[in-house]
């Protein structure tokens, strides 16, 4: 892994962590049940992407 790739991985991990938090918070706040489900799924997907990127280290 090159130094530039490592910077991208670190940046992506930070964003995935942030997005998981946003989606979890949004799922709690949204009034529409369908949107709540989408946000819950998306929080899980962001965790999965985080895990796959973290495995590169």
């Amino acid at each position: 892994m090159s130094p530039k790739e490592l910077l991208y991985v670190e940046d992506a991990l930070n964003h995935e962590k942030h997005m998981k938090t946003c989606c979890t918070k949004s799922a709690d706040e949204l009034g529409d049940p369908a949107l709540k489900n989408i946000m819950t799924d998306m929080a899980r997907m962001h965790q999965n992407i985080f895990d796959k990127l973290y495995e590169l280290l």
Binding site: E5, V9, A12, L30, L35, M45, L53, E55, L56
Partner: protein, 85 residues
Amino acid sequence: MNEQNDRMTCETLLIETKGLCDLMMHGTIESATPDVRAAFSQALQDTLSMQQKIYDSMADKGWYPSAQAQSQQISQTKQKFANMQ
């Protein structure tokens, strides 16, 4: 009021997800190491999928109106590049 809050939440997440698509795309094209490139490429596909889910949900609710290009404009563009075929 509740619907307005839902709309604002979705708009914020759509903007953030679009930004994440951009990051994953650059991670992909700037990575030469095969497993790093593959991980970013898959992350890009997954993030595009999420962006579409949010957009579709908003469009279904009429929160994201989109216009169609006029057929005359499409024909003009098609004609402009016709000799490239």
